[in-house]
């Protein structure tokens, strides 16, 4: 009987302890989440793609014509970025000549441009003031990409990899045009000043002996066009 009583107490003791000795219950569930942040560069031209200069008075030849806000560009970027500009040929393309004298080979550099966005922090030459736009060879591009920080003209950033986008001058920081109008919206003024005779004195490439010795040092009256390329690239 004593054994039975001891066993009974043992069972009660084990029962009580057993309830106390449960491990803390738990359960877990998981979500596996992946995030793909794609690199995006959007360049939008909000003005007409064509800018016309028509010189039909002596005054216009002498004073030149300036097209303010001729081109407006907006940049949306999720990466640090640069933007450069160049003429897609050496010379203006003559569609029609109105006379037989004068030089039909007008260098791209007779077109002057000025940007509303300050890129003076960049090491590359910019467009803080009216500046001749470089032709294809002078811009020193290989496969459309800049090769140095001197030849290519940058509207934003410069040649070389940024270490501090928006500060070190080598790239502009990611962002949208709507939220960053002072750095991501460009208003480009364009100017042509032929002079009389039409030697385009502001051009960094003179018409004298251009492209061959003995060529007329002034422009032939005619209808010309030039293609200007704005290139937005990831800072590399």
């Amino acid at each position: 009987m004593k054994n039975v009583l001891i066993m009974f107490l043992a069972v009660i003791l084990i029962g009580v302890t057993a309830q106390k000795s449960y491990a803390q219950l738990d359960d877990q569930e998981y979500n596996y989440v992946t995030m793909d942040l794609r690199g995006i560069l959007n360049l939008s031209m909000t003005t007409s793609a064509q800018v016309d200069f028509t010189f039909k008075t002596i005054q216009e030849y002498n004073q030149g014509i300036t097209q303010f806000n001729a081109v407006q560009l907006e940049v949306d970027a999720t990466l640090a970025w640069d933007m450069y500009v160049y003429a897609n040929s050496e010379n203006w393309v003559q569609v029609e000549g109105y006379s037989t004298n004068g030089n039909a080979n007008l260098p791209a550099e007779i077109l002057e441009m000025k940007s509303s966005v300050d890129n003076s922090a960049g090491a590359a030459p910019g467009f803080a003031a009216f500046t001749s736009l470089k032709g294809l060879t002078n811009a020193n591009l290989a496969g459309g990409r800049p090769q140095d920080n001197v030849s290519t003209q940058y509207l934003a950033g410069g040649y070389g990899l940024t270490t501090n986008a928006g500060v070190d001058g080598l790239a502009f920081a990611p962002g949208t045009a709507a939220n960053n109008p002072t750095t991501h919206k460009f208003r480009i003024d364009m100017r042509l000043k032929p002079g009389i005779p039409a030697t385009f004195p502001n051009s960094t490439v003179a018409l004298v002996d251009y492209p061959n010795p003995g060529d007329a040092p002034y422009a032939m009256a005619g209808y010309y066009y030039l293609e200007v390329v704005y290139a937005l690239i990831e800072d590399l």
Binding site: Q19, Y30, N31, Y32, T34
Partner: protein, 186 residues
């Protein structure tokens, strides 16, 4: 006779051990893999929201705590699968925001909140202090025993996920794991 008595006590012993079935668990949950794919500037700016990314059905016979946190290789940073650019920084796990919803709004945290590492989790129900007094359904912070079939308004959570990256982070592919943990409050 002694054999019968011993058998009875052995039965009593097993009964005493097995008669308290306790559960604290998720049931019939849906927790798919989630992919946030940002390929427009608008998505970067405004973000992407996944409603009902996970459903947590709770069945518990005990008081419970519920918490959530991220598991990653480097604490508080998304795991990098690959990168598309050299600029920017690796996003923190707090870039991912969560929202726990049910009909009685029993979550301790209302609205979206940033995810934190599992080492410093966010308590949806209860807190790190244990044990705590039971809070009964349908009050905020309901932590008493119950189940989603009887009271889905308190024991069923729909989880929404949101990411608004902005423009500070390095382009690339990232991943992390969200851990939802329900634990007995003792």
């Amino acid at each position: 006779m002694k054999l019968y008595i011993n058998s009875f006590f052995i039965f009593l012993l097993f009964w005493s051990l097995g008669s308290n079935a306790q559960t604290v668990s998720f049931e019939l949950k849906s927790s798919p893999n989630i992919v946030f794919d940002f390929n427009t500037v608008q998505e970067y700016e405004n973000g992407i929201i996944y409603m009902n990314a996970a459903t947590l059905n709770i069945n518990t016979t005990e008081s419970f705590d519920l918490y959530v946190g991220a598991t990653t290789t480097a604490v508080n940073e998304w795991n990098v699968i690959n990168t598309y650019s050299s600029g920017g920084i690796v996003p923190p796990v707090s870039l991912l925001q969560l929202q726990f919803r049910n009909a009685s709004s029993t979550s301790n945290v209302s609205g979206f909140f940033p995810l934190q590492d599992i080492l410093t989790p966010t308590y949806i129900i209860g807190s790190a202090i244990s044990p705590e007094p039971d809070i009964l359904c349908p009050l905020q912070g309901t932590s008493a025993a119950g189940d989603y079939l009887t009271n889905p308004n308190c024991y069923k959570f729909n989880v929404d996920l949101k990411v608004v990256p902005g423009f500070d982070y390095q382009s690339g592919q990232y991943e992390l794991r969200i851990d939802y943990v329900i634990i007995q409050d003792i």
